[in-house]
């Protein structure tokens, strides 16, 4: 069943004289429980696409449906409620409140949904256990490692049980060990909790944890591969092949 459906989405920047097509007529669907990676070189439009899906940016043309709601038509309060209740965000630079402890950062996502203090406590503790951050709950972001910060940010993203988790280069600021640990957690959330995840990355290793990879070039979908029954290693090799096909830009990131 399609959870997310993009129909001919376009996003243009600039004016008539110099027009940049950041996203040029992209359509695809994401099923419930899928772990999708979007790959592409810098400037290929992958982050713009994610911003459109996350309603942070507005599309120039086309429609994006989450379940049956056309999210390109949402405005004001409805938009805020949509972000609050249906989406979970994970950013490259964590975006944690430096004034709040890990616990409070995670709780914030719930308290702005006006959940009761008792619920908040229960949910925060259980999500912390799943992501292995129970012991850092009372620490401030400046007291944590990058990997811990990103897991706290992930906990904040999923604690509200969103329909869709959006991750923008989640491993970008992590060392390889922390990155691996985070991605394994993503896989766990995807398998055990049926979480639908869309992740933007330029890193083939990171992408190999997904069940499906979309390649974007010059604002268009260039290729798409599914993991199917492959092992992660095999899937990684397939990704590398496509990346090589894509040429120059992405290989820099390898």
């Amino acid at each position: 069943m399609a959870l997310l459906k993009l129909q001919n989405v376009e996003k243009y920047y600039g004016n008539k004289s110099s027009l940049t097509k950041a996203v040029d007529d992209i359509s695809f669907t994401v099923d419930k429980g899928e772990f999708t990676a979007i790959m592409g070189a810098s400037g290929s439009g992958k982050t713009t696409l994610l911003n459109c899906i996350s309603t942070i940016d507005r599309v120039t043309a086309g429609h994006i449906f989450l379940e049956d709601t056309d999210i390109t038509q949402l405005k004001g309060k409805a938009l805020n409620r949509f972000r609050r209740e249906k989406l979970g965000f994970i950013f490259q630079d964590f975006n944690l409140m430096d004034t709040l402890t890990a616990y409070e950062n995670i709780a914030l996502a719930l308290s702005i949904q006006k959940r009761s203090a008792k619920d908040i406590d229960k949910l925060v503790k259980s999500v912390a256990e799943q992501l292995g951050i129970t012991e850092v709950l009372n620490k401030y972001p400046y007291q944590m490692s990058g990997g811990q910060k990103q897991r706290v940010a992930s906990a904040r993203a999923i604690v509200t049980n969103p329909k869709l988790v959006l991750a923008d280069e989640p491993t970008g600021a992590l060392d390889s060990k922390s990155a691996k640990m985070l991605l394994e957690r993503f896989g766990y959330l995807n398998h055990e909790h049926d979480a639908t995840i869309i992740m933007v990355t330029h890193d083939s290793f990171t992408a190999s944890y997904a069940s499906r990879v979309l390649f974007i070039k010059d604002g268009k979908v260039f290729n798409e591969i599914n993991r199917g029954g492959d092992s992660r290693k095999q899937f990684f090799d397939k990704i590398i092949d496509v990346v090589t096909l894509l040429g120059g830009d992405v290989s820099d990131a390898l």
Binding site: S54, I56, K77, N80, R81, F82, R83, R84, E85, L87, F89, N95, M97, D98, T99, L100, E104, A107, L108, A109, L110, S111, I112, K114, S116, A117, I120, D121, Y140, P141, Y142, R156
Partner: protein, 686 residues
């Protein structure tokens, strides 16, 4: 090139500079308005009596201006230093690009000069406009007519403003030059790395410090609020120091406790944005304890100054009406040349001196009454206090009856005659009874304390007992304020005519309108002065004075105007300073946290809630020092009321309302400005 860079710098950091600029403009305008009073009043048709006073007012304002300039100077230096700190990164970039320190200093000079000239120009423009309004206020105060009024610009006030503010700007320039000269590139570059460390103070230490400070503050409050009798200058100073120090520690401990207290209420802390909002507030207070203290104390001084000024002003006219119920009053008393304290008066014949000049006192008035007060060398203040002397001195240190003067006595028949003039009920007195009249509240409390013991007195050999156990609030001598420091009323039979001393006369002129009134007053004064000359030149020592209802009313207006002007001047400048410091801090804080709000928005927080959070943050930041200042002021005003008791008999509430109005206008204005500015900063990151 330099000019271009500095211009674009100012334009770029307009939001940071807006409050600074606004404050400079207000400062310049206020400074001009008050210093231009002399010129503004020159064209007003102010009567001769007030003209003299306005000269004095102008001098007083000049003196206060120096103080005001120091306060404004400190504010400007503080604000500029604060703004410079925010630009460390920018300076680091210039230095890395190879700009010399001289160049950077020149750049800052350029900016300061531009802002200085701009603020002086705008401020003077607004000041000139406002001072026309000031003319109307002055005219209204002094009941002058404005027919010959024209638009005036005071060159001297402009020059003075430019010189004073020029000096302040020069100090700023020199200071920033020194700072730039001393700084190192590495510290500049690292200054952007804000220490994000959140230090939680030890909660028990906070509680203990809070309790101790509260206790010390409570004791200081008790000293000034209730134990005033016992208060000398050194104790007042001690109370002020205790208050200031405990204010600092209360802010220090509240900053540590506030968050803990709110965090302990889980339901409240984890509701909406509360956790975020209170963390923000807590870190803000934590880093601004010192400025909060200074602001709180300045607000306290402002509220007390303004309230006292308004109290005095509001009471003046009513007090003249109450305490000067006749048109004219004069007195003459002989004292021995060596009686320096005028403790032992003896007989004076006032009418005789009129006659010596060939004048008849009856000609000057429609109705008048002449009488003597009496004095018994064996009935002094110390005699009256009697064996309660030790108790008296230990309980009334501040009042302290300085010398052993002879009590003043008035016959019952004379008093009842006076009562007719004053519109009071006649008094009834048994043959062995006496009554004390007093209106001066310091002495009223002394007499009430003494009369509670029902002391008998011996006057000219007659023993009398008190009719009441309290003094009576009655006037003997007309005055501008309640100044009757105690006169005994005794039955006529108890008085020995040989004890007659001070001669007094009160009277009403034979006049129906303002002009004839003024004419009659002139004659009465001329005649009394002529008689007084005779009195002074007859070889005996003595003292004579007169006072009239018109003079009292004019003096009341003058005194009211003086305190109002000075109170408003100082109050304005203090309020502006407080508001400016808080606004600068809050606005820079908002732009530092702008990214946090972007984050909140991404999490799907409603715009309304973000605005609410910004409002709560600025609100608490502004409210906290004001609240404590209000508390301070409540007790401060108790002392002020006590010390002003000579001038004040009521109307505190109305004055507090006026004060609240001024505070809300300026301080509240800064709050509004801050809130709107913060909201804009937080919003634009969309």
């Amino acid at each position: 090139m330099l000019f271009k860079i500095s211009l674009s710098n100012i334009r770029k950091s307009l939001k940071d500079y807006a409050v600074y600029f606004f404050t400079l403009v207000v400062g310049v305008a206020v400074f001009y308005v008050f210093n231009a009073i002399e010129t503004q009043t020159a064209f007003l048709n102010v009567s001769e009596d007030h003209r003299e006073f306005i000269k004095f007012l102008v001098q007083a304002i000049s003196a206060v201006s120096v103080f005001v300039a120091i306060v404004l100077g400190l504010l400007i230096v503080y604000a500029s230093r604060f703004l410079m700190k925010r630009r460390n990164k920018e300076f680091a970039l210039y230095m890395m690009l190879g700009m010399s320190k001289w160049k950077i200093s020149a750049l800052l000079l350029c900016e300061t000069v531009m802002i200085g000239i701009g603020s002086l120009f705008v401020g003077l423009l607004i000041g000139v406009g406002l001072s026309q309004v000031m003319s109307a206020v002055v005219a209204n105060l002094f009941e002058a007519d404005m027919t010959s009024f024209k638009f005036t610009i005071s060159g001297s006030a402009i020059a003075k403003t430019i010189i004073y503010f020029g000096i302040m700007y020069a100090v700023v320039i020199i200071r920033s030059g020194i700072v730039i000269g001393k700084c190192r590139l590495i510290t500049l570059m690292q200054s952007g790395r804000r220490s994000e460390k959140i230090t939680m103070k030890n909660p028990w230490l906070c509680v203990i410090v809070f309790l101790i400070s509260a206790a010390v503050l409570g004791y200081a409050y008790y000293m000034v609020g209730w134990n005033q009798m016992d208060l000398g200058p050194s104790k007042i100073l001690a109370a002020i120091i205790m208050g200031a120090v405990s204010t600092f520690f209360i802010f220090w401990s509240v900053a540590g406790m506030l968050l803990r207290v709110i965090m302990s209420v889980k339901g409240l802390y984890h509701r909406g944005l509360n956790s975020f909002t209170f963390r923000q507030i807590s870190s803000k207070i934590n880093t601004t304890v010192a400025s909060m203290t200074v602001i709180c104390l300045m607000l306290f001084v402002t509220i007390c100054t303004l309230s006292s000024a308004f109290v005095i002003r509001n009471n003046m006219n009513r007090q003249v009406e109450e305490n000067f119920p006749v048109d004219f009053y004069g007195e003459m008393t002989h004292y021995d040349a060596d009686d320096e304290n005028w403790d032992h008066p003896y007989y004076t014949n006032l009418e005789k001196y009129y006659e010596m000049k060939g004048l008849n006192i009856a000609d000057d008035f429609k109705e008048y009454y002449m009488f003597h007060s009496y004095s018994d060398p064996d009935f002094t203040m110390f005699d009256f206090i009697g064996d309660r002397m030790d108790e008296f001195t230990s309980e009334n240190q501040s009042i302290g009856v300085m010398s052993d003067y002879q009590n003043e006595i008035v016959k019952l028949s004379d008093y009842n005659e006076l009562a007719k003039y004053y519109g009071r009920k006649p008094m009834e007195l048994g043959e062995d009874e006496y009554v004390i009249t007093a209106t001066f509240s310091g002495m009223v409390s002394v007499y009430d304390w003494l009369l509670a013991d029902k002391p008998g007195i011996t006057v000219f050999g007659n023993t009398l007992k008190p009719r009441y156990d309290k003094s009576c609030y009655e006037i003997i001598r007309p005055s501008m304020q309640p100044l009757n420091a105690g006169v005994f009323i005794v039955p006529d039979s108890a008085v020995d005519e040989n004890g007659a001393a001070t001669a007094m006369v009160i009277g009403n002129y034979d006049a129906s309108d303002k002009e004839t009134m003024a004419e009659a007053e002139k004659t009465a004064i001329k005649h009394f002065e002529a008689a007084r000359d005779e009195f002074y030149s007859d070889g005996e020592g003595g003292h004579s004075q007169y006072y009239t209802r018109i003079e009292a009313a004019n003096d009341a207006i003058d005194l009211g105007a003086l305190v109002t002007f000075l109170g408003l001047y100082i109050g304005f400048v203090f309020l502006v300073s407080c508001g400016a410091i808080l606004a600068l801090k809050e606005l820079s804080e908002s732009s530092d946290s702008a990214s946090r709000y972007t984050m909140l928005r991404k999490l799907g927080v409603e715009e309304k809630e973000i605005t609410g959070s910004v409002f709560t943050q600025s609100g608490i930041f502004f409210l906290l020092p004001l609240l404590l200042a209000c508390l301070h002021s409540y007790f401060g005003m108790r002392l002020a009321k006590f010390m002003l008791s000579m001038l004040v008999s009521g109307g505190i509430f109305k004055s507090m309302l006026f004060t609240a109005g001024v505070v809300v206008l300026i301080y509240g204005g800064y709050f509004l400005l801050t809130f709107i500015g913060s909201r804009a900063i937080v919003r634009e990151q969309k």
